[in-house]
């Protein structure tokens, strides 16, 4: 078991290196660098100004050298002021040092966000905290709702309840966040006026039902259908097994059979599905946070991508790889614990 986890962690590190390398390659393409330079200097910068800004800040250095700096195995160099010849901080708003130092991911420095004018570490932490709150509420509504729907549908296969719940779950998987977001905003915010179509106040004034219900609903609805269908399939399988028939023939009531015998075994498979749902939620977070103007991880990712904020984008990439691979690992290990018939080799 331990060697399995260690091997998976090794793969995770390798994936992180490959992925950041690819992202690094893309953000350092000439058109993207120009985009960054224009947003950092001013809109009407001439080509020479852009070139000199990129040169001065080391964006034209050797590609591997730059990647090494970001990792923290090559020293970061301060800028040299061309007029005075003295070393000065690369990005003043991030307190970049004036002497060459090793300062990268390995040293715990995620770099400097050029768009938000803050160290990436602080900005990322704020964003993740905000998204964590959103995720918590999404999970808290999505998982119970999906499990209940799935169990009710799978309890009696082919019944009218099963049919209608199955169609409802298919419909919910056909509704991506940007569609359900529009539908819910129109219904609850524009027509009924019960809920706010903007969650901008949630960060400053705290989470309330009024400003938070719409994003949570929007995100939950897309996942519910999928988890419910998996739960239903698992429930149907359990309900046709021998021990359920035995229990029913012994005279245990249907309700008791479902609650005591079927549920526990039917909920093993959905556990994996729920864990693997996290990567999907990551995409959902980006759409929902931008639609409802909630300043979390997804909002940050889009801002970073739109402005080619190199360090922030790389950090976002790292975070998502960790989320995706960690949930995969948890789902595998957890499955082995829940289902004694399977042992991880």
């Amino acid at each position: 078991m331990l060697s399995f986890i260690l091997r998976r962690l090794g793969v995770m590190v390798l994936t992180m290196i490959c992925l950041t390398f690819i992202v690094f390659f893309f953000v350092n393409l000439e058109p993207n660098l120009r985009k960054l330079a224009i947003s950092q200097t001013n809109m009407r910068a001439t080509d020479e100004m852009i070139e000199s800004w990129l040169d001065r800040n080391g964006y034209h250095d050797n590609f591997l050298l730059q990647y090494g700096r970001w990792i923290g195995v090559v020293q970061k160099q301060p800028n040299i002021n061309p007029e005075t010849g003295q070393a000065e901080s690369r990005f003043r708003y991030c307190d970049d040092p004036v002497e060459p130092v090793y300062s990268g991911i390995l040293q715990g420095n995620f770099g400097c966000s050029t768009n938000f004018k803050k160290p990436v570490g602080t900005r990322l932490w704020d964003g993740l905290k905000a998204t964590g709150i959103l995720m918590f509420w999404v999970m808290a509504t999505m998982v119970p709702a999906a499990l209940i729907i799935g169990v009710l549908a799978g309890m009696r296969e082919g019944s009218r309840l099963d049919r209608s719940l199955s169609v409802a779950s298919i419909a919910s998987t056909a509704t991506p966040e940007y569609v359900s977001g529009i539908l819910f905003s129109v219904l609850f915010a524009s027509w009924l006026g019960w809920l706010s179509a903007s969650s901008a106040t949630a960060t400053s004034k705290g989470v309330t039902f009024y400003n938070f219900a719409l994003p949570v609903m929007t995100m939950a609805i897309y996942g519910i259908g999928y988890i419910a269908r998996m739960t239903r399939a698992s429930m149907v399988e359990v309900m046709t097994s021998q021990y359920i028939r035995t229990a029913l023939l012994k005279g245990v009531s249907f309700r008791q059979t479902v609650m005591k015998h079927a549920l526990r075994n039917a909920l093993i498979a959905p556990f994996t599905v729920i864990m693997l749902q996290f990567p999907w939620l990551l995409t959902g977070v980006v759409i929902v946070e931008n639609m409802f103007r909630y300043q979390g991880f997804g909002y940050m990712l889009v801002q970073a991508a739109a402005n080619n904020d190199i360090d922030l984008l790389l950090a976002c990439g790292l975070v998502s790889v960790v989320v995706v691979l960690a949930t995969q690992l948890i789902s595998d290990v957890g499955y082995a614990f829940l289902n004694p018939r399977i042992r991880v080799s």
């Binding site: 419909a171 509704t175 991506p176 539908l183 129109v186 915010a189 990439g317």
Partner: protein, 383 residues
């Protein structure tokens, strides 16, 4: 401005769609009369869920085909008077009606969703087909040979799957990237797979019949090369196959994002089917590994693959919508549903229809595909 009532709007929309109803009626009349002989499709339309799925998909298919007849206006026609017009508003000058209202630039929403269905119905199935080809060509050997091939390919697939889709799109589908050689080289790489796939397919089967083999290979190379030249280099001599720069970029990004999923499914299916007796029999006969993969394993994996293909077209439609919603790749005036939702959602508080109508269109199409997939799964399990 004069408007017509709710029922008149419905009557108007229904009557505008007459070619769709006509074509649909012909198709269904023929399908039902030959139901017994149509195999899986025949069973599918006997199933409530499957039939609903087929109906919705056929509706959008014909809407896309007859878009020019159905839509009263062009996708980009603007009438300044009709800016944010209510559904059912009548243009005083021409007497034409904006059945589902006008958007913020005074374009007819109804015409735009009909024209937009073309973008979706061309790109989504085509991209899914390419993703299937890539996934099959790589997934079969990964499952069959195992070992190093499997580790390397699985690692690459997981790498792409670990990428947040939005980040991938922002990196691949920005105007800056379109200028570089990256989309073309990626397209060149991905579009090679169908040619490789079909050449191997025919070679393994007709190795001992050189006349047949040469015909098949020649046809594959000719058609494949023609599509390849048209899509990748924009050099189609007949001018039928061509993509705009942005479209190629989107196409490549969508294929890139969905092939690892296909790869995983094909690999899993291969691992499962490999243990069957008929594979062992083929191995004992001395068949080559590629023959076994393409002519023994693949045909037996078709059921789950068709179901997954349907679901995947829906998922690709959602991805295209995401791209449009973030304003990536598609032109600013593009009539695809994602862009329309993005444009409409800015004024959602005041004018509901410019965003609501394309949102419902996208939802109904994906729902149709999902129902179709569900019906297919149910029917194929019955055998």
């Amino acid at each position: 401005m004069e408007t017509i009532g709710f029922f008149e709007i419905i009557a108007g929309v229904v009557s505008r769609l007459w070619p769709v109803w006509l074509a649909g009626a012909i198709v269904f009349a023929m399908s039902f009369s030959m139901r017994k002989r149509l195999g899986l499709y025949g069973q599918l339309i006997g199933n409530g869920i499957g039939l609903t799925g087929v109906l919705i998909c056929v509706f959008w298919l014909f809407a896309a085909i007859f878009a020019d007849i159905v839509a009263p206006f062009g996708a980009r026609d603007q009438l300044a008077v009709m800016k944010n017009a209510f559904p059912g508003s009548i243009d005083a000058q021409s007497g034409l009606i904006y059945y589902l209202g006008g958007d913020n630039l005074g374009r007819d929403v109804f015409s735009r969703i009909i024209h937009g269905s073309r973008v979706v119905l061309v790109i989504a199935p085509a991209a899914t087909l390419f993703a299937l080809m890539v996934g099959m060509t790589l997934g079969l050997p990964a499952g069959y040979f195992g070992g190093k091939v499997d580790s390397v390919l699985s690692f690459l697939a997981n790498l792409v799957l670990a990428f947040p889709v939005i980040l991938l799109f922002y990196l691949l589908v920005t105007p800056g990237i379109e200028e570089t050689i990256i989309p073309k080289s990626l397209a060149g790489f991905f579009f090679l797979f169908p040619i490789i796939f079909f050449c191997t397919l025919f070679y393994t089967r007709f190795r001992t019949q050189p006349e047949k083999l040469s015909v098949y290979i020649a046809v594959t190379l000719l058609v494949g090369g023609w599509v390849y030249a048209g899509l990748v280099f924009g050099l189609d001599p007949l001018g039928i196959m061509s993509l705009e720069k942005g479209e190629l970029n989107i196409f490549v990004a969508v294929v890139f994002a969905s092939s690892p999923g296909v790869f995983r499914i094909v690999r899993g299916l291969t691992l499962d089917i490999m243990t069957r007796d008929y594979v062992a029999a083929a191995q004992t006969r001395g068949e080559g590994p590629w023959y076994i993969m393409l002519w023994e394993i693949l045909p037996n994996a078709r059921g789950p693959l068709i179901v997954d293909g349907c679901l995947r077209i829906g998922y690709t439609t959602i991805l295209l919508g995401t791209l449009g919603y973030f304003g990536l790749g598609m032109g600013p005036e593009s009539a695809d549903w994602g862009t329309m939702i993005k444009d409409g959602s800015q004024l959602l508080r005041l004018y509901v229809w410019p965003a609501l109508v394309p949102a419902l269109a996208l939802m109904s199409f994906v729902l149709g595909l999902n129902l179709l997939a569900d019906g297919l799964r149910e029917e194929s399990l019955k055998d």
